[in-house]
């Protein structure tokens, strides 16, 4: 038996040593050649996209564990989906331990890159862009990992998504760092997820910079333990171009950081500048729901150490102008609907509350006032998100 195990081990290491590189060039038949390489790859293999523009008519997909797809740079190797005719995304990944790096996806008809149930995925130095800029007919999400554990999205650029540039949904153990998200409806959105760190990103010229949402009625409900820290959230005043019906369609232009529902969110050490509705907004879920698991209010939210530039000067909601005038021309930098629980504002800035007292109460019944400075009960500090060391090691 021992002998057998050794033989198996030897075989395993031999096969990992034999990891192959498959280089794909743009040009005729790129769709089939690239897709075939993605199908025939063995775990450990690397698929290299040569420099150039790959014209693609159908979505690509990867379902082999441990494969790396590497381009020659986010401006050099471009998967161009401008003439896409089928599938719901540009690239779909459904396997674990995958690394995507150094290439671009342009003008996907649906989402840019979606990974579903793909654990330990690394998105590194990618560009996902709708080159026409903000447009309701653009795809929904740029980088879209969902239903997974251990997700790293870093050093990437997303522009033009009609929903969220970087969207992480129904997942756990997440790091989204050092990305630049521009001219999307939501720059970065963490939804129905736990243990997420959103740090050192630049979110600018989106409708809303960084959103932390929890929605009822989904397989995974009860988002929280989210850190939003050391981000630059600047001038997120683009008119909302999301199609109605989507939750982000309700996000006012001029939103910096927005927390809806969720338990345990820390908004710390960010630079919040020129967001014309509100730098930090805390709201409860407003629609009716039937889900016993669901907490519709933002609970245990800490706001601390942020730098606040000008903002709140053009609130993008009905009566916003009058509302701002009542506060001397600009809303205070932090806005809550009043339904928060255990809110801790540790920054020396005024906070405005809409004074709602019941979840689902319409905003027309708002009774705005300044919130008395309060210090919430101490909230346990989270341990930093620890992704498996091999994930970062893959990038060396």
């Amino acid at each position: 038996m021992l002998k057998f195990s050794i033989a198996v081990l030897a075989l395993a290491s031999a096969s990992s040593l034999a990891a192959a590189t498959h280089t794909i060039a743009p040009g005729d038949g790129a769709q089939e050649r690239l897709q075939e390489a993605l199908i025939l790859a063995e775990p450990g293999d690397e698929i290299v996209l040569e420099e150039g523009r790959f014209a693609l008519t159908d979505g690509l997909s990867l379902d082999v564990d441990g494969v790396t797809v590497r381009g020659a740079g986010m401006d050099a190797s471009v998967l161009d989906f401008t003439t896409q005719q089928g599938a719901g995304e540009g690239l779909l990944v459904t396997s674990d331990n995958v690394t995507l790096r150094d290439f671009a996806i342009e003008n996907a008809k649906g989402d840019g890159i979606k990974s579903k149930g793909a654990d330990q995925i690394v998105y590194h130095a990618l560009r996902v862009e709708w080159t026409n800029g903000p447009d309701a007919s653009n795809g929904a999400y740029g980088i879209y990992p969902v239903e997974a554990k251990n997700i790293l999205v870093q050093d990437s650029y997303v522009r033009g998504a009609s929903d969220a540039g970087i969207y992480v949904g129904q997942s756990e153990q997440i790091i989204v760092r050092r990305n630049r998200v521009e001219e999307n409806v939501a720059g970065i959105e963490i939804e129905n997820s736990n243990f997420a760190e959103v740090t050192e990103n630049l979110a600018t010229r989106n409708t809303g910079g960084i959103l932390v949402f929890d929605l009822p009625g989904l397989p995974k409900v009860g988002g929280g333990n989210v850190l939003v820290a050391r981000n630059a959230v600047v001038e997120n005043n683009t008119d909302n171009f999301a199609p109605e019906g989507n939750i982000v369609a309700a996000v006012p232009a001029g939103t910096g950081v927005m927390v809806m529902a969720n338990t345990g969110v820390q908004v710390i050490d960010n630079a919040l500048i020129s967001n014309s509705t509100s730098h930090v907004m805390l709201v409860a879920y407003t629609q009716s729901f039937d889900d016993e698991r669901y907490e519709p209010r933002p609970v245990n939210v800490t706001v601390r150490g942020n730098i606040y530039g000008k903002g709140g000067n053009a609130p993008d909601f009905t009566g916003g102008e009058l509302f701002a005038a009542a506060f001397g021309g600009a809303l205070p930098p932090v806005l809550t609907d009043g339904l928060h629980q255990n809110l801790s504002i540790e920054d020396a800035v005024p906070v405005v509350t809409l004074g709602l007292t019941e979840v689902g109460q319409p905003f027309t019944q708002a009774q705005p006032s300044l919130l008395q400075p309060t210090q919430g009960d101490p909230v346990a500090q989270y341990d930093p998100v620890q992704l498996p060391a091999e994930m970062a090691a893959r990038l060396k």
Partner: protein, 347 residues
């Protein structure tokens, strides 16, 4: 009954209108090693003929152990006709542990050929095989050649411009191997979709039992309706509901169910789902993006034109169109029945 008497079985099935094909000459049996992926080059055979499923490939006549079947309510595939077969190795049987999917023994296969036109004009486009191997199911697509003499493996899929018998010019898509799995997957494993007990005819099930291809089956509380029946009788509300729910189950629920490809949407369109919110009634979208079309809920009772589900079924534009795969044209009948179902709901 003597199991080694396929001709007799064929005769029996033919009598009842179903057929297990057989020819006068004794055809070669299915190559079980190929089905099982055992031996050099057999993991992903390059040609359809390598399996030996057919006594006559062009005519799609199955050999020993290959039974054809149909579904009460079928999946829409751009109007293609489908020739469906189940292969069971000698001595094996299908079993049923509920009204859902039949359980297939290891070594069995499901074969589906997509074709347009009839008689001599019939063009076979592609054949998809699902192989039940020791390590689970494998899905492979095969593309037919112009001469209709062979179908070869199309791992990366293909896009084929063709003219349908009704004159419509369409861009037909053969899915790539991964896309096969996108639909045929639950909790990350490949599974069959079509042969659910409740979507098979009682006559066929009886014949399969007589042929000893099928073990005892549970008694069914309900069955999916015959899809073509809608054109023959006037439908009452219950008929419309049954047809719409069957259609959504067959066309959507392989992804839209817990563990399916669209599980994160929270939309569950399985026949057996009876929670209104889960099946989309007054349910806001989650990740629909522009697929929402500006509408607030998947199904707005009484108002099909305000229902995302109708908007997406009525589109062929990627990013909006549902289903996302295997659909390049709108199914007018499908849209119509779901529309009538929603219109008939109390607001």
């Amino acid at each position: 009954m003597n199991r080694s008497a396929p001709i007799f079985v064929a005769a029996l099935l033919a009598m009842a209108g179903a057929t297990v094909q057989s020819t006068a000459r004794s055809p070669a049996p299915v190559n079980n090693a190929v089905v099982m992926g055992e031996g050099a080059g057999n993991k992903m055979p390059r040609t359809l003929s390598a399996y030996g499923f057919f006594a006559d490939l062009r005519e799609q006549h199955g050999t020993y152990g290959v039974s054809d079947y149909r579904l009460n309510t079928p999946l829409y595939s751009d109007g293609a006709d489908k020739l469906r077969f189940i292969y069971l190795p000698a001595g094996t049987k299908l079993t049923a542990d509920g009204a859902g999917l039949l359980q297939f023994p290891v070594g069995s296969a499901i074969i589906k050929t997509f074709a347009f036109g009839e008689g001599e004009d019939r063009q076979l486009i592609e054949t998809r095989v699902l192989l039940h191997r020791v390590d689970g199911w494998t899905a492979l697509p095969y593309r037919w050649n112009e001469d209709q003499t062979e179908a070869t493996l199309a791992l990366a899929g293909a896009r084929i411009p063709l003219t349908r018998p009704d004159g419509a010019e369409i861009s037909y898509r053969i899915p790539n191997k991964n896309q096969c799995k996108t639909c045929h997957s639950k909790d990350g494993e490949i599974i069959p979709i079509g042969p659910k007990l409740r979507n098979l005819s009682p006559e066929w099930l009886e014949l399969m039992q007589q042929a000893e291809y099928l073990a005892e089956i549970p008694k069914l509380a309900d069955r999916m309706p015959l899809w073509e029946a809608q054109s023959e009788v006037s439908l009452d509300k219950a008929d419309v509901t049954a047809l719409a729910r069957a259609y959504l189950d067959v066309n959507c629920a392989h992804c839209h169910q817990p563990g399916g490809g669209a599980s994160n949407s929270g939309l569950d369109l399985r026949w057996e789902q009876d929670d209104p919110h889960a099946m989309g009634i007054r349910k806001p979208p989650v990740a629909a993006g522009r697929g929402s079309g500006g509408y607030a809920v998947s199904i707005a009772p009484g108002d099909p034109d305000a229902s995302i589900i109708i908007h997406r079924m009525s589109s062929i534009e990627p990013g909006i169109a549902m289903p996302e795969l295997g659909k390049n044209t709108v199914d007018p009948q499908g849209v119509d029945i779901v529309r009538r179902w929603i219109a008939g709901m109390d607001q």
